[in-house]
């Protein structure tokens, strides 16, 4: 049974360093050869302080959170059954680009929890997991919103 009382609560905080080598490795794994993700000189010539991150890079926050498996940990705390659950969607919102060398403060929050009727009968429960990233002046830089769906 999903614990609906956990909707709109803080879950964990963490520190997220954005590292050039990791950005290059990630760009390689998504097969994007753009030098903006690899070449500091090129990035500076384009007006950035160093290489920037690809748009989906922030999920590597997983490496910086104290947990063996943060998604599983959240599901357990919520009472979700991982076998019946899927990653439904993910949305990244940016106030500005993020560069290598930055270190942002991260907050993981549980967002809304709601139900919808499944197309083949049964109930689907939607759980939002949100990661907010703040700079050293506490300005919001980016938000990652995940929606996980447990099928009834």
């Amino acid at each position: 049974m999903i614990n609906i009382n956990m909707a709109n609560t803080k879950f964990k905080s963490f520190q997220f360093p954005f590292e050039k080598g990791k950005i290059r490795e990630f760009a390689n794994a998504i097969y994007d050869p753009n030098p903006i993700y690899r070449d500091s000189q090129y990035a500076k010539s384009q007006g950035f302080s160093d290489v920037i991150i690809p748009p989906t890079f922030p999920m590597t926050a997983l490496f910086h959170v104290e947990s063996d498996n943060i998604v599983l940990e959240v599901m357990q705390k919520l009472g979700m059954d991982p076998i019946k659950s899927v990653h439904g969607e993910i949305e990244y919102t940016y106030e500005r680009p993020i560069c290598a060398g930055e270190s942002l403060r991260g907050e993981i929050n549980i967002g809304n929890i709601y139900e919808k009727a499944g197309k083949r009968g049964g109930t689907m429960t939607f759980v939002e997991l949100e990661i907010k990233l703040f700079d050293t002046t506490d300005r919001l830089v980016a938000i990652v919103r995940n929606t996980f769906i447990e099928k009834g």
């Binding site: 990791k22 998504i30 903006i36 384009q46 997983l62 949305e91 990244y92």
Partner: protein, 142 residues
Amino acid sequence: MNEIKYFEDVKEEEQLPGFQHTITRTHIVKYAGAGGDFNPIHHDEELAKMAGLPSVFAMGLMHGGMLSRVVTDWAGDGCVKKYKIRFKGMVWPHDTLSFQGKVVRKYREGGESLVNCEITVVNQKGEQNIEGEATVRLPSRK
């Protein structure tokens, strides 16, 4: 490498240049290491079969990440305001995926010149694996 795309030069319904990848287990493993998704369903063949699947399958964020190039190659670097993807179908080794996008709307809002795009990943059978949308901030000549 990328030319500057100006807001004024964008046409609604314009197609974004696309590309294809044929997915292998190596793609999946590379992304698992880079992205941090060590869920064994994506790399442990025995476990996937015991779970009743024909084989391992790719994590959505792998091809979801590959898709971002459709937007950034076209719009330029550092322009993404929003990138949203919905996972619709599973991706298996040997699938050939087409990554595509098109402009759906250009508008000015909150002092920014914005363009909304629809982006998609479709497999060799025409099945949609990812349905998505992106919003980019573009420089204006004005």
